[in-house]
């Protein structure tokens, strides 16, 4: 069977001052199967949110989106007329954002906003839409939905607003829900509530979830499959279990080693956390692998061309020949002192 979503060779470009383009996302492939949770992980500047916006068709006009193909629910999206794409969005493909306060209209009640979606995409009457909105609020576990339906967004707490956003997003029973940092603005205890809600909706409404996040803990706990992005390139993809037990790409390895969350029990008096030197800004203008300036394993060949995605095992891919033991010509680029001795490919 076809996957629910398959993206082939997606690039997103913006005009730069010099008349050309710079490409914050390059050559990106992604597949999402029906009913699964795929996490897109990366830090700011990795292009993960741009990718989501491109899928939703929400990028500004100035953006250039190029893809060899975007298939969703058996339909080719590239070249589809604008109207058909718009109909798809909000119905089969929905998105929730990090900051629910700015994504909800502050002057309309949440009931009105949910009802609006239902009337637009399902042609419900005002009365039926309102009844359905109350049901949806109940579905996302907002207490006293009869009363809350007439509240304005500012009357709700952050967690409740995120629930209302989710209710709006799932109103038309989408097949794929894209969640862009859905819990980053929330406190830990509320975060756990929202993640559990998303996972319950995934099961009950049999939707697929594309979870965009920088939080490795969230990914490890909730995702089936993980795609790691760095400076616009996919550097690694794997099922969640193998990724965390045996990360391959130097970037993924570095991130896991640097995360206090993944190193529970470590204490500063026992020694420093491992860190990745430098910042993602060093990837600018890098011809080869964008991670080269920070990579402990980089050799001269890495800086010449972006390594292809290699498949070292079933359901795994990594864009680093060194990581899978392929010898590359050239001497090490970064000084041995900066390279982690822990790293043996």
């Amino acid at each position: 069977m076809d996957p629910l979503l398959s993206v082939r060779d997606l690039s997103i470009g913006f005009r730069n001052g010099a008349g050309g383009h710079w490409w914050p996302v390059r050559g990106f492939d992604l597949t999402v199967e029906a009913g699964e949770t795929v996490a897109l992980v990366g830090e700011s500047g990795s292009g993960k949110s741009l990718t989501a916006l491109a899928l939703m068709g929400l990028l500004p006009r100035s953006a250039r989106v190029e893809a060899a193909g975007i298939r969703f629910a058996g339909q080719e999206l590239t070249g589809l007329p604008e109207r058909a794409k718009r109909r798809l969005r909000g119905r089969d493909l929905a998105m929730i954002f990090q900051e629910p306060m700015t994504s909800l209209n502050p002057v309309l009640t949440i009931g009105r906003q949910i009802a609006e979606v239902l009337r637009l995409h399902q042609g419900l009457s005002a009365k039926a839409a309102r009844a359905q909105a109350i049901e949806l609020l109940d579905l996302v576990r907002i207490p006293e939905p009869q009363r809350r339906v007439d509240d304005h967004p500012h009357r709700l707490s952050g967690g409740m607003r995120q629930r209302a956003m989710i209710a709006m997003a799932v109103a038309c029973r989408p097949k794929l829900l894209i969640a862009d940092e859905p819990t980053t603005a929330l406190d830990v205890t509320i975060q756990a509530q929202v993640l559990e809600l998303l996972d319950r909706l995934r099961r009950e409404l049999s939707l697929a979830l594309l979870l965009i996040t920088h939080d490795l803990g969230v990914v490890a706990q909730w995702a089936d499959r993980v795609v790691v992005l760095y400076a616009g390139r996919k550097v690694e993809e794997a099922d969640a279990g193998p990724l965390f037990s045996d990360p391959l790409h130097p970037y993924t390895r570095g991130l896991l080693a640097a995360s206090p969350r993944m190193n529970a029990g470590r204490h500063y008096r026992d020694g420093p956390l491992d860190e990745i030197p430098g910042s993602i800004a060093s990837a600018a203008g890098q011809a080869g692998c964008p991670f080269v300036p920070r990579c402990p394993a980089a050799v001269a060949a890495c800086a010449e061309a972006m390594p292809p995605l290699l498949v070292p095992a079933a359901r795994r891919a990594v864009a680093c020949p060194v990581a899978v033991g392929l010898p590359l010509p050239g001497s090490p680029l970064n000084s041995p002192s900066a390279a982690s001795p822990e790293f043996h490919p």
Binding site: G232, E275, S279
Partner: protein
């Protein structure tokens, strides 16, 4: 695991001077002021305003060269139309005074009053606004009341009363216009200062033990200036209009010629010698327009809607 990861000991990590490419910032990031200046100079309407204002200023500065004599003196036949006589290219008025001389000398007064009054208004406004916004509490309440009282009185009537009491002269007109315009600036500065006062970098400055004067002058005010600069260019324009209106009503300095007084004097001959009102009127329009264009340009340069600063 033992890695030279103590950054205090390790070599400095690679530090690209360029901003994050993903955020879309230009590679070289010059300091704020220079960046704003460049944006301003790239704006064609701002340049147009600047050129027009420069022409008016040139005219004003050349006045004593072309017409060293008192522009209020009678020099020729009255009501001579423009273009009839080479010695008076723009004609003469009902008393035989040269119109071109009046316009050029009038530009001096208009610009002088416009800029000087704005300086007075700015100083008063910034002082009151900064104190009220920074100090807060009862002093803020009191100063806000004061601002409200000034803004509740129709400003032109207040201006007329002030000038009438103080006897019209360039100095009193400048002072009076300053007094009626400062509340706008004070309100603006107060709002900016209040917003900036709670910013982390100001809290940090307090935490470093800086004095209040230093915090206001070095930390807060430089950041509060962009909207003030934008507003002040429009203030110059409105001060020029106020001066013209006062002179038109005969409340100008009787010893100097100004565009307003020329319009006032030509008013009765509007049907027969319309050029007497039209020419100074045109100059007022051009000057005010120029200042407004500059204001718009400053606004675009100093308050970019999309602050690409991440």
């Amino acid at each position: 695991m033992p890695k030279t990861s103590s950054p205090a000991l390790a070599a400095a990590p690679p530090l690209p001077a360029t901003a994050n490419p993903a955020a879309g910032t230009p590679a070289a990031a010059p300091r704020y002021g220079r960046r704003a200046l460049r944006a301003f100079l790239r704006n064609p309407t701002a340049i147009a305003g600047l050129v027009l204002l420069a022409l008016v200023m040139l005219g004003a500065s050349l006045a004593p060269l072309f017409y060293p004599d008192d522009p209020l003196g009678m020099v020729g036949r009255p009501l001579l139309w423009p273009g009839r006589q080479w010695s008076h290219p723009l004609g003469t008025d009902s008393l035989g005074r040269d119109v071109a001389a009046g316009l050029m000398h009038g530009a001096r007064i208009s610009l002088l009053v416009g800029f000087a009054a704005t300086c007075v208004g700015l100083s008063l406004g910034i002082l009151v606004g900064a104190v009220a916004g920074y100090r807060g509490g009862w002093l803020d309440d009191a100063l806000v009341r004061l601002i409200e009282i000034f803004q509740a009185v129709p400003s032109f009537i207040l201006l007329v009363v002030l000038v009438a009491i103080a006897q019209p002269s360039v100095a009193t007109i400048v002072g009076a216009i300053g007094i009626v315009t400062w509340p706008t600036i004070a309100r603006l500065v107060r709002a900016e200062v209040r917003a900036l006062r709670s910013k982390d970098f100001v809290v940090a400055a307090r935490g470093m033990g800086y004095g209040h004067g230093r915090i206001i002058l070095r930390e807060i005010l430089p950041n509060a200036m962009p909207p003030v600069i934008v507003t002040s260019s429009v203030m110059v324009a409105s001060a020029i209009l106020m001066e013209a209106a006062l002179s038109f009503m005969g409340l100008g300095d009787p010893n100097t010629v100004s565009w307003g007084s020329m319009i006032g004097a030509g008013r009765e001959l509007l049907r027969t010698a319309w050029y007497l009102t039209a020419l100074p009127g045109l100059l007022i329009v051009v000057t005010v327009l120029a200042l407004n264009l500059i204001g718009d340009g400053l606004n675009d340069a100093l308050n970019p809607r999309l602050e690409k600063d991440s």
